[in-house]
């Protein structure tokens, strides 16, 4: 059986499925219980599984993550929510100093099968701190996995995989497309592999890598350039850490060209790493400089400026043309 679900619905169903199957899964965070999350990702979990397994916490991100560490050590699989990625920073010390390090610190004794969920990215005309994309910060932390789905189907399969993963996973949900479209999503639980990118569209002229909400904008851009005879290959990175280098490298070797599209600022964004990888692993195949289309090196603007910030399909399309015609 499948249902037409949007991305937030798929997240909710993934949680439902796993809480049903595995009673060690517990879900908590700010407004997660009674209200079911400010985006309704956790709606009905408390009704269905009770206050013990889906509950509201006090307003304290460090303690949310810090307590999840203890829970994970003590046999549970906590799935905690940071209400927005921009409010994950009070938990930064717990994440970098403990979540990512406990397994190595204890030489494999204490693993942390926990998930930190957070809506991320801009484009919903929100207040300050509600629009940022700092995946590059988290993706450089050894010991942490970072996953970003771009469709309802992927969201469900990747979130279930994240919950079942023996290692801690930061699961970032592109809030701009929470309700953008629906897809057939199987009712049953299923997993998609963490650490594997997905070739969404084969092509030969240029490799384009995107993730999260930017996948759709990139698809729009591709539509624009296809009419001009350009055949891009589109890869949805899906896992930002660890990066699926194999898929990227293979594609770049084929096309000789790489464009990375992300919403985050340019400097030290994930684009830089993908460009570096292309250099290290496919240098002699390069026919044009690996390139990035990104947000500016600025704070994400308040709503009246945000349309400038997020790379538009037009900006992406222009870059594709530039790179292909290089």
């Amino acid at each position: 059986m499948t249902n037409k679900l949007n991305l937030i619905g798929a997240v909710n169903q993934a949680l439902m499925n796993e809480m049903e199957l595995d009673e060690t899964v517990v879900v908590y965070g700010e407004d997660v219980g009674v209200e079911g999350g400010v985006f309704r990702a956790t709606v009905d979990l408390q009704k269905k599984f009770g206050e013990k397994r889906a509950f509201d916490s006090p307003l304290a991100e460090s303690a949310i993550v810090g307590s999840a560490i203890g829970m994970a050590i003590n046999g549970l699989k906590p799935v905690v929510e940071m209400q927005f990625m921009g409010f994950s920073y009070p938990a930064f010390n717990q994440i970098i100093s403990h979540v990512a390090r406990m397994r190595n610190r204890s030489r494999g004794l204490y693993n942390l099968p926990m998930v930190i969920r957070a809506p991320y990215g801009g484009g919903i005309r929100a207040l300050e701190h509600h629009s940022e994309s700092t995946e590059a910060i988290y993706s450089q932390i050894p010991g942490l996995k970072v996953v970003i789905p771009s469709t309802p189907y992927d969201a469900k399969g990747l979130l279930i995989a994240a919950i079942r993963d023996p290692d801690p996973v930061l699961f970032l949900e592109p809030k701009r497309i929470y309700r953008a479209f629906r897809q057939d999503v199987p009712e049953e639980p299923y997993v998609l592999p963490i650490g594997k990118a997905k070739v969404l569209q084969e092509g030969e002229d240029v490799t384009i890598v995107a993730w999260g909400a930017m996948v759709r904008d990139t698809q729009k851009a591709i539509k624009m350039v296809e009419s001009k005879g350009i055949k891009p290959e589109l890869i949805d990175l899906r896992t930002i850490a660890p990066i699926d280098r194999e898929t990227i490298i293979e594609s770049v070797k084929k096309t000789g060209r790489l464009i990375v599209v992300h919403e985050a600022p340019k400097t030290l964004g994930v684009g830089a790493e993908l460009m570096a990888i292309a250099n290290e692993k496919a240098f002699l195949y390069l026919e044009a400089p690996p390139t990035r289309v990104t947000g500016f090196d600025t704070t994400f603007p308040l709503p009246k400026g945000e349309k400038h910030y997020i790379p538009s399909p037009e900006r992406i399309a222009k870059t594709i043309e530039d790179v292909v015609r290089f």
């Binding site: 307003l59 400097t267 009246k304």
Partner: protein, 360 residues
């Protein structure tokens, strides 16, 4: 009044006006002129009006997310009115009444909620920090302001606000601890409006009062009826005076209620009973203060009607003066990150402008 007489562990609210606008604590009744009383009430009406209009603009799709203050006007206006010209206000994001008292023009406020950073550019001489969204983080800024006052041997005070939810945050604790260690002239106000979005106060912390958290720092802490503008004014005044006298910080819990939604994106019927809201409605700080003022003959229904008309005009014209004219200048996105734009930013700005012009 003396904070020593108000042990927060007794869980008794400091109050001057009761729900009917009767004075229940004559001794502490502040001596304010009629002009001042009118100003206070008018500012509360203004606050309410700004909320109401913002909500209706929002429903019409003319405004973005907005966080209303309805029900908390006394806590905001009363406390801020205890400040002096040179004092600093360090708000969270639900202190509209306090911002107005401290001289922030409505234009700024609406610009901010309308999604333009210029809203946080305060006019000359207005010592108010921008709205702070990361919960409780602003408490520490106020502490630093206070510490600087001590270092510079200046006499100003910082007044800062947080919600009940914010008291759970690490930054709250660190700020209070710093302030007490350094005897920083800071007044910490908690607007306990009983909810942090959907999470009720009872789930936020197990302590009977939020004011009692002051004991952890050997700091005076007082529980105040936050819907009583006189109580808020007098308690804050005493705290401000203490701070100015070099006696250090104070924690004030303003016990109040968020009559509206958390923000316009929120639907409170999901997590609280209408009954509860109904019970709080008669405690509306405007009703109470109005009764008092009518009784005293300071205002009349007439006066209120005229005032409301005047305020409405102001609010409508201010909103219309920014509506559809407040798109962010592209340069502004880049220009204010550093005193001088580094070449990277200049290049990005140039490239983007070229792109918009359709050039290479």
């Amino acid at each position: 009044m003396n904070f020593k007489d108000h042990n927060p562990l007794n869980n008794k609210q400091y109050r001057i006006l009761d729900f009917n606008g009767e004075v229940v604590n004559k001794e502490d009744l502040p001596s304010l002129t009629e002009e001042e009383l009118k100003y206070l009430y008018k500012t509360m009406l203004y606050t309410r009006m700004i909320d109401d209009k913002a909500l209706s603009y929002q429903r019409q799709g003319r405004m973005l997310t907005y966080a209303p203050n309805t029900g908390q006007e006394a806590a905001q206006v009363g406390s801020a009115y205890a400040m002096e010209k040179e004092d600093w206000l360090v708000p969270a994001f639900r202190e509209l009444g306090a911002l107005l008292v401290r001289g922030v023009p409505l234009r700024n406020i609406y610009l901010y909620w309308y999604g333009n950073e210029w809203g946080s550019h305060m006019p000359e001489g207005v010592k108010v920090l921008p709205i702070s969204v990361p919960i409780a983080s602003q408490y520490q800024h106020a502490v630093g302001i206070g510490m600087a006052n001590n270092i510079k041997e200046e006499n100003n005070v910082a007044v800062t606000y947080v919600g009940d939810g914010g008291t759970s945050h690490g930054d709250f604790h660190e700020a209070l601890n710093f302030a007490s260690v350094f005897k920083a002239p800071v007044v910490f106000i908690i607007q306990n409006n009983q909810y942090a979005i959907s999470v009720p106060r009872s789930k936020q912390t197990a302590s009977k009062t939020l004011a009692q958290k002051a004991i952890a720092y050997d700091m005076p802490g007082i529980l105040v009826d936050g819907n009583d503008i006189f109580a808020m004014y007098v308690a804050t005044k005493e705290a401000v005076d203490r701070a100015r006298r070099g006696e250090g910080p104070t924690l004030i819990e303003a016990y109040t209620y968020r009559l509206g939604a958390h923000t316009t994106s929120d639907d409170p019927t999901k997590y609280r009973e209408d009954k509860e809201v109904e019970q709080w409605k008669p405690k509306d700080p405007l009703i109470r203060f109005k009764k008092y003022l009518l009784n005293k003959g300071v205002i009349s229904e007439e006066w209120e009607k005229e005032t409301l008309e005047e305020l409405e005009k102001d609010v409508v014209s201010t909103f219309e003066s920014i509506e559809d004219k407040s798109d962010t200048e592209i340069e502004d996105i880049f220009k204010y990150h550093y005193e001088t734009m580094p070449p990277q930013l200049e290049e990005q700005l140039e490239e983007y402008k070229l792109f918009l012009e359709g050039g290479k």
